[in-house]
Amino acid sequence: MLPYLLGWVGFVFNVDLLNAWGWRLLLGLRVTAEVVLIACSLGFLLAWPLSLARRSRNPLLAWPVLAYTAYFRGTPLLCQLYLVYYGAGELRPALASAGLWWFFRDAFYCCIFAFTLNTAAYQSEILRGAVLAVPKGQLEAARALGLSRLAIARHVIWPQAMLVALRPLGNELISIVKASALAAIVTLMDLMGETRLIFARTFDFSIYLYAAILYLAITQAISQLWNWLERLLSRHLIIARAVTAPVAQTRARGPALDPVSAEF
């Protein structure tokens, strides 16, 4: 009985396979990490001005951003990636004369470009929702104190908005980790690309299991990091929570008062 079970476990968790090909998985993991970290950071930097422009009363600012977020949130990422990768190929003469071809020639940069634009659209909407979630009274109180607009933004609105935005931003990071598997389709050898390659060589399905474990490890690590960040950023609320205990306990996971996280 026991040897039979062990044999089965050995069949699913093929150690020889990992010995022979594990290093390639790790190479792929590194590429995945690079793509996700760069795209999400750049996306965050872009999202901030975008969210400001989206809330602007000037339609020349707000409408283009509205169109941009509608496009990138409303079309498949795969379609966007193909459009960047093969579209840039078609536009090569124009890109070459603009001195941009070196950038679009490389599959890695194409992926960064497409993923950044995509995640910036989502992140800008998260930030916009978070700012709108800050109670209006906060703004009125700050104005009554005679604070400058910059000071209100810096000391009143954004600290509270970031707390609201934190968890949806974490969700977005996780969804980009998973979406980054698409990069394999445009020749980038990320974790998924390496996995497909190893599977094509060995026909051993358990390599997909290892890839899944690695993806799960990344997303769980992000999840833990976010829990920690949330505790760190909401330290000042702990006492307040204790005072308003009945309400606070129903939301034991912190100030999850986010209207946008329901999307994920």
Binding site: G89, R92, A107, T187, M189, F199, R201, F203
Partner: protein, 258 residues
Amino acid sequence: MKIAKFLALIGLASGLASGPLAAKDWKTIRIGMDATYPPFESVDPKGQIVGFEVDYANALCAKMHVTCTYQNQDWDGIIPALLAGKFDVIFSSMNMSPARAKKVLFSNMYYATAPVWVAQASNKSNDTSLAAMQGKLVGAQSSTVFSNYLEKNYKGVEVKLYPGGDEPLVDLANGRLDYVVSDILVSERFIEKNPGCCRVVKTIPRSADVFGPGVGAAFRPDDVQLKQMFDKAIAEADADGTFKKLEAKYFKIDIRGQ
């Protein structure tokens, strides 16, 4: 003990199931293809899979008196899909390489064309040695004899692998790649459709260890009867001129030349 009984039952059941299967009377045959490989197989604007191998397989099916259906399948997963029973035959320009022959059963060869190096038209060099490829970007479809050839003989050269057969040529035409290794007919057709983009540099000798003897249909290892049916139909199509007629319809050359 219960588990042992259960396992015995499973063994019995699978024994029963495989018994009649061995003497299966084939009425319909499901054919798997990666339709990214014109003129052999591609998807037309109506969504139908068309090409030389579709016409040829239809002719063989007529000779075997069976109905054939076609399924489009990603190349990377085509052998696992066959083994998992998603379809019964791979009829998709599969070169009978020794590595694949360990996993599947092959029919007799029905065509063999030359693998080639393709370069951008502006590239006038005919040197495809390992030294000449240093610092160059070479593309091929992944899990093919072409990618295996590059991996074996061009270690250290950066090779880009694509899921489809036409994608490396697209990237060669738009200048993302310096060279592509592919099939001569697939490359020549692409150049015909995109005049001035690229040129065939030279053919690659079909070494037995990488390329095998040519292209054949692939079956699950225990479908010996199905293989025999195909071999017989291939021989018949050769004898009565069906193959030659289809060859002439699609190609200007003898596709068993190499």
